[in-house]
Symmetry: C2
Subunit: 201 residues, 2 copies
């Protein structure tokens, strides 16, 4: 095959690809707030939510974040995003639930965090709301699922929401627009590498 023939074949293949992509884009015309759920046992559920926070701030959008299950260490993203006045950042008072070992304390902290989340979900000024590790709080029964579903369905029409955490409940997946399962293929941790700044912390 000559170079010219190869180039022409490439051009036709790319042209076909472009038509497929253009048709898909032309078919997607609705504009509204979407509910995104990042779940599964793999890495990247919260990181992807924080990448969307960066993207939204880049567009000058007002963003709210509530972290439901807080690790015992301060994270880099918290240090980073707290710099921005256009972002409301709430962290649930206590550490991981297996650190506190007190169900009443956990429940009070989770409900306080949910109270902050409910305010964000009722406020049309917030264009993106991240409910980080809410799935864990739901799974542990610390926050009632029916109140979460109600608040999500009643939120302002243009508001985007991201919910993260393994084990997303079926009813949440049902009402979500975009759901991704982060599936672990391998993890450095299993090879004895500790959690590191900029990667996990």
């Amino acid at each position: 095959m000559t170079d010219d023939a190869a180039r022409e074949r490439h051009r036709r293949r790319m042209q076909r690809q472009k038509e497929i992509v253009d048709a898909r884009v032309a078919g997607a015309t609705l504009e509204r707030g979407v509910l995104v759920v990042n779940t599964g046992n793999g890495k990247g559920k919260s990181s992807a939510a924080f990448g969307m926070v960066a993207r939204a701030l880049g567009h000058g959008m007002k963003v709210g974040v509530v972290q439901f299950i807080k690790g015992s260490h301060a994270t880099g993203e918290e240090a980073f995003f707290r710099r921005f006045p256009e972002l409301a950042y709430h962290v649930m008072g206590e550490g991981f639930t297996w650190e506190t070992q007190d169900p009443d304390l956990d429940r009070r902290a989770a409900l306080a965090a949910w109270g902050q989340a409910a305010e964000l979900l009722a406020d049309p000024a917030f264009q993106l709301v991240v409910l980080d590790e809410l799935n864990i709080a739901l799974k542990l029964g610390l926050v009632p699922l029916d109140r979460v579903l109600e608040a999500l369905e009643g939120r302002p029409a243009h508001q985007h929401v991201v919910v993260t955490g393994r084990g997303a409940p079926a009813a949440l997946i049902e009402i979500a627009d975009t759901v991704t399962e982060m599936r672990p293929i391998k993890h450095a941790f299993d090879a004895g590498v500790k959690a590191q700044k900029g990667v996990e912390l």
Copy 2:
């Protein structure tokens, strides 16, 4: 069961969970740069990489980003992250390859982007390097895989790297520390919702 008995049962379950987590953490003692690969057909591969950029900037780390396959639109994360002097941000000259339909132009642009990536991978000052959509450039044969593997394996020992894009080659997965497959469960696009600011753009 009395409240006290329930509380005690919860405490013991959480205590056991804490011992498992503590043992796992104690067993992971190595500190070194890790190679993270985000692949699969789902959403969140690049967002998760940019979440890690935020995390690293929160720790005052120096970060380099090369975007290999650039969409035709400016993204929010580009607008956002370009504000930070501690971040080197390179974008490959041309749009999606099915937009240009010229293999020579694509190859030149991809190789120029690879040249910038190779410089970052050789520079110990960069603590985190993101090679966004490199997997696509590899798949299209625009960048030679053997040169990529060699540069990754020869990089400074403490440097973290994130490679994103669907279809990660097996040889890259082989040398990676942490690999996640972003698996699509559902996507708003399929319900006719267009790509939106802060979510996809």
